[in-house]
């Protein structure tokens, strides 16, 4: 080890948190052997796997980290397209939509912000309906093109903002001179707080949840869980910001609250989609969590908002 950067300390902190959480789950299973904790145990085990992959990519190289996000986008889009009604005539168009993933993440690796920002919302948006009309099947055309574009925006465009943080040239007081390290710190900040907020809202809701927010969409979401999670996440954001971001305390607090709010909205939005389709989970890829969309639903909303918050204030 030549030099221990603050980001390594932050990663160490995440692992410490994971170990503490695992010990709590272990104690719980021992203390209440009569209750079924299998989902909680599965969830925790999956967290180990996910954090291991993330840490490895993070430490090895920036390109690898970008590739991991591209793979997550691919799995998410595949899950989405497997879950929604599709038309047989559109198989080729779905293939084009998948091809947009390597292209979009190439713009990230290339640090070409202008193209990154317009490729999917402009070029793919215009190209997909054209590719779709070539089959000359107009029945269900609008629904097909609408659902495909929405999936591409959610699974690829939104999520790629998290990866773009890695190459964002950040400046400002406390920044690490616009190097890759500062981008990595921002990504860690975003992903950690988004996922932490999910767990915090869930835990607060389990302990104190009474007043439901949107029972028709997601019956388990309560005001107590939402506000408790938001408070914890905001406090944590202020505490960890000096370690990995150039944010002032005020901006860190705002970012934390924004992540908590947007994360909640992302979560219930995917819940609404699932309810519409009549499925419980988006897939079965991550034991205890469901599909990959169930895990990154919040991130699809927090990533672009946090990205533009940072870009506006610090570049």
């Amino acid at each position: 080890m030549t030099n221990l950067l603050p980001i390594h300390i932050a990663l160490g902190g995440i692992w410490a948190l994971l170990i503490v959480a695992s010990l709590i789950v272990f104690t719980l299973t021992k203390a209440q052997p009569e209750r079924d904790h299998s989902e909680l145990v599965q969830r925790t085990t999956s967290w180990w796997a996910m954090i291991a992959v993330f840490t490895a990519a993070f430490l090895l190289s920036r390109t690898l980290s970008i590739t991991v996000f591209a793979l997550v986008s691919f799995l998410a889009l595949k899950e989405y397209l497997s879950m929604i009604p599709t038309r047989r005539a559109d198989r080729r168009v779905l293939f084009w939509a998948y091809l947009a993933i390597p292209v979009q993440y190439y713009w990230v690796a290339d640090e070409w912000y202008g193209m990154f920002a317009v490729f999917i919302p402009v070029y793919m948006f215009l190209f997909l309906p054209f590719a779709m009309l070539l089959s000359q099947q107009t029945e269900g055309f609008l629904k097909a093109v609408g659902t495909l574009n929405w999936g591409l925006m959610l699974c690829v465009f939104s999520l790629s903002h998290a990866a773009f943080l890695l190459v964002l040239p950040v400046e400002g007081p406390g920044s690490i001179g616009g190097t890759a390290a500062s981008g990595a710190g921002l990504l860690l900040f975003l992903v950690f707080l988004t996922q932490f907020n999910d767990v915090a809202q869930y835990t607060w809701g389990k302990l104190f949840g009474r007043r439901k927010i949107v029972p028709q969409v997601s019956p388990k979401k309560t005001w107590e869980g939402f506000l408790g999670g938001m408070l914890t996440t905001t406090v944590l954001a202020v505490l960890v910001a000096p370690l990995v971001t150039p944010f002032s305390a005020l901006h860190a607090g705002l970012a934390g609250a924004m992540i908590a709010g947007a994360g909640f909205i992302g979560d219930v939005t995917v819940s609404a989609v699932k309810r519409d389709l009549g499925v419980k989970d988006t897939g079965a890829l991550i034991p205890g969590h469901g599909g990959i969309m169930d895990r990154i639903d919040s991130l699809t909303f927090t990533a672009p908002l946090f990205f533009h918050f940072t870009r506006y204030l610090y570049t």
């Binding site: 691919f74 397209l81 047989r88 198989r91 779905l94």
Partner: protein
Amino acid sequence: MTRVLQLVFFLMVRVVVLFVLGLNVRRREWLPEDGPAILVANHNSHLDTLVMMSLTPLARIAKLRPVAAADYFLANRAMAWFSLNILRIIPIDRQKGTAGGDPLAECHEALARGEILILFPEGSRGEPEEMTALKKGIAHLAEKNPDAPVVPVFTHGLGKALPKGSFLLVPFFCDIFVGEPIVWPGDRPTFMNILAARFASLSAEKTFAPWE
């Protein structure tokens, strides 16, 4: 040599099946550990055989014998070499059933050697993601080999990923539902009824996204 080629081929198949498609297998424990056994699946895509062959550990790949139509899989020399040496199919003559002995003779021999047969009793891939009537050859096979359990496997999504007549593989998650193994019930009509009932309940386990 062909054994090595077979292993390499199926390793590549596994990578594609796991990454490009992604399988969600329910009740994997009902799949036979060893032969003799008969895996019976619905048929929608060329991927069916490959996916069925990736459900068992790679070390036992040599035990798997897909039963396939001779007119299609032995159509030309290259195809025939691949079918017989890599996939190791047991060719069946779809047109002339009984002319010249039992058409299932090779299947009986394979089961006697403790191999695992893979059969698609619909006969043809047909329309994507739609099941057609089951052919009765499977009942004859099960009757002659009462020791071999018949395991019904219902797959969904493969017909979307690569339907008949297409060469473009489009990624979709695939659901695999393994049904309870069927022990020979004593007569063929009862067997066919049980098999059809198993497939009916397996296919009703999940509401699938519409595919128009």
